[in-house]
């Protein structure tokens, strides 16, 4: 499928400011950072979680543990996927038991990825609570899930796609809204 970029909705500064704000909201909401851990959902949630961790280190002088979560094994759409998704590694260098787990992902859409991530986390232990941070919320939820921290709310049509491009994977920093090319 070919996609055509329609508009850039965040640039490098926009992404950075959104993450700074999310980081501050995490501190505010949890009245500090004791027991807070950040868990990035593979793939693009991982660099975002690391960046929030770095911001918290700078602003609060607090080392928040950061982990990586792969949700492939928990997906509900494996049989619908034409290409079998590659199973990435889950690496949580901490125990989630009793922790405040902040899940981090790039785009919140149907909510199914987050549903899978919740199951994956709960399989690893019983956190005190789980919160959700996303860079972009584009709507169209299919299950009752909402984010605690949102970088930007972007109303979209279902035909549109949000592409989050990050230095780590794409060599560029931007969030664009694009649409499937017409034949």
């Amino acid at each position: 499928m070919q996609f055509i970029d329609k508009a850039e909705i965040m640039d490098v500064d926009g992404i950075r400011r959104a993450l700074v704000r999310i980081a501050h909201e995490i501190v505010e909401k949890n009245k500090g950072l004791d027991d807070v851990v950040l868990v990035g959902i593979r793939r693009r949630g991982v660099p975002l979680a690391r960046r929030i961790g770095d911001i918290l280190k700078d602003s609060e002088n607090f080392d928040v543990p950061v982990g990586e979560l792969d949700i492939t094994l928990y997906r509900d759409d494996l049989s619908l996927k034409f290409e079998q998704p590659h199973v990435g590694r889950t690496m949580l260098p901490f125990d989630v038991e009793g922790k405040v787990v902040v899940l981090v992902d790039d785009v919140l859409f149907t909510g199914r990825t987050v549903r899978a991530a919740l199951d994956a986390i709960i399989d690893l232990g019983r956190p005190a609570c789980i919160q959700l941070a996303v860079l972009v919320d584009r709507g169209h939820r299919e299950i009752p899930i909402r984010a605690d921290y949102v970088g930007k709310n972007v109303p979209t049509s279902r035909r549109e796609v949000i592409h989050v491009r990050l230095e780590e994977y794409d060599g560029i920093e931007q969030v664009v809204i694009s649409e499937e090319a017409q034949e």
């Binding site: 094994l73 928990y74 290409e83 079998q84 199973v87 590694r89 399989d123």
Partner: protein
């Protein structure tokens, strides 16, 4: 590049890309084995059946645990307590089991090629868990996975396989797999247990183990199949030990950081001395853990999302 819905019958027929896919998936899945609750829901509702027409401790248990850790149901069939004793043919037994709704069959059989036969008869995927003197592909994949754990690469490594090359499906699968991934493979054994045309598989063959082991990164010790002694293929266990057994002295020909492997079950004091088997250079128990991760990966890649 996909194993979805396919059989896994041999490494001779497997592409290096598919082998890499199994190995990298197993690398990710290994983490599940260290969890307090070793279970992911991925293969819920799938049923795998192990058909073992030959004895096995590791392979059968390893497959069944792998299935359960992925939430598939595992049922087992053993020839000793079944209608095989009443003369039912392999094809009939397997067709009947399929009609009960199994999604994948894992078979070990003493006849070479029997898994290929089963794959032709059945519509569901078949995984070879060892067929006669032909292949044992999942063993070789777990061996390669274990070597990667210690050496981080296969290309350019020298692997010496010592023992009964003639009857060993483990040796054959490892030869196919390791050479495809770029290792240099040397084999050594008594001339009665070395196939005369073995070098056509791209390996170097020796009758003195020291020559094969010289400079090796991996020393792979095969089980001496004691039942072969009855056929006069080697004179005695003691003589085999004296000329081919892996002990401190023979191992000294390998690199200083060489690892020692064995597919089990071991005849301690015959093909390998106890001090080597239990030494820090032995990765024999790591092979067993790798086996579960590799088989989880294989089940996921074949059955995951496949109807």
């Amino acid at each position: 590049m996909s194993l979805r819905g396919n059989d896994l019958l041999s490494l001779r027929e497997m592409s290096p890309e598919d082998m890499e896919l199994v190995l990298s998936t197993a690398r990710s899945l290994k983490e599940i084995l260290s969890r307090p609750i070793k279970k992911v829901p991925t293969l819920r509702g799938k049923v795998v059946c192990t058909l073992f027409y030959e004895p096995s401790t590791r392979t059968k248990t390893s497959f069944e645990l792998a299935a359960r850790y992925m939430s598939a149901d595992a049922v087992s069939f053993s020839s000793a307590s079944s209608s095989v004793k009443k003369g039912e043919s392999l094809a009939d037994t397997a067709r009947n089991l399929t009609m009960m709704g199994i999604d994948l069959a894992i078979m070990r059989h003493s006849v070479s090629g029997s898994c290929h036969f089963l794959a032709k008869v059945l519509d569901i995927p078949v995984v070879n868990a060892g067929d006669g003197m032909n292949e044992h592909p999942t063993q070789a994949l777990l061996d390669i996975f274990t070597i990667l754990d210690y050496k981080s690469r296969i290309r350019g490594l020298k692997v010496a396989i010592i023992g009964d090359i003639l009857h060993s499906r483990v040796a054959r699968s490892n030869i196919f797999g390791l050479t495809k991934m770029g290792a240099e493979v040397c084999v050594a054994g008594p001339s009665t247990l070395l196939p005369p045309d073995i070098e056509r598989l791209g390996v170097k063959a020796y009758t003195r183990p020291e020559e094969a082991i010289e400079g090796a990164d991996v020393v792979y010790v095969l089980r001496l199949q004691l039942e072969r002694q009855a056929k006069s293929l080697f004179p005695s266990k003691r003589e085999y030990r004296d000329f081919f057994g892996i002990d401190r002295h023979r191992l000294s020909y390998a690199k200083d950081d060489a690892i020692v492997m064995h597919p089990g079950p071991m005849n301690r004091g015959v093909e390998i001395t106890t001090d080597i088997a239990d030494s820090p250079r032995s990765v024999i128990l790591d092979q067993v853990t790798s086996g579960v991760a590799v088989r989880m990966a294989i089940l996921y890649l074949i059955l995951g999302g496949w109807d």
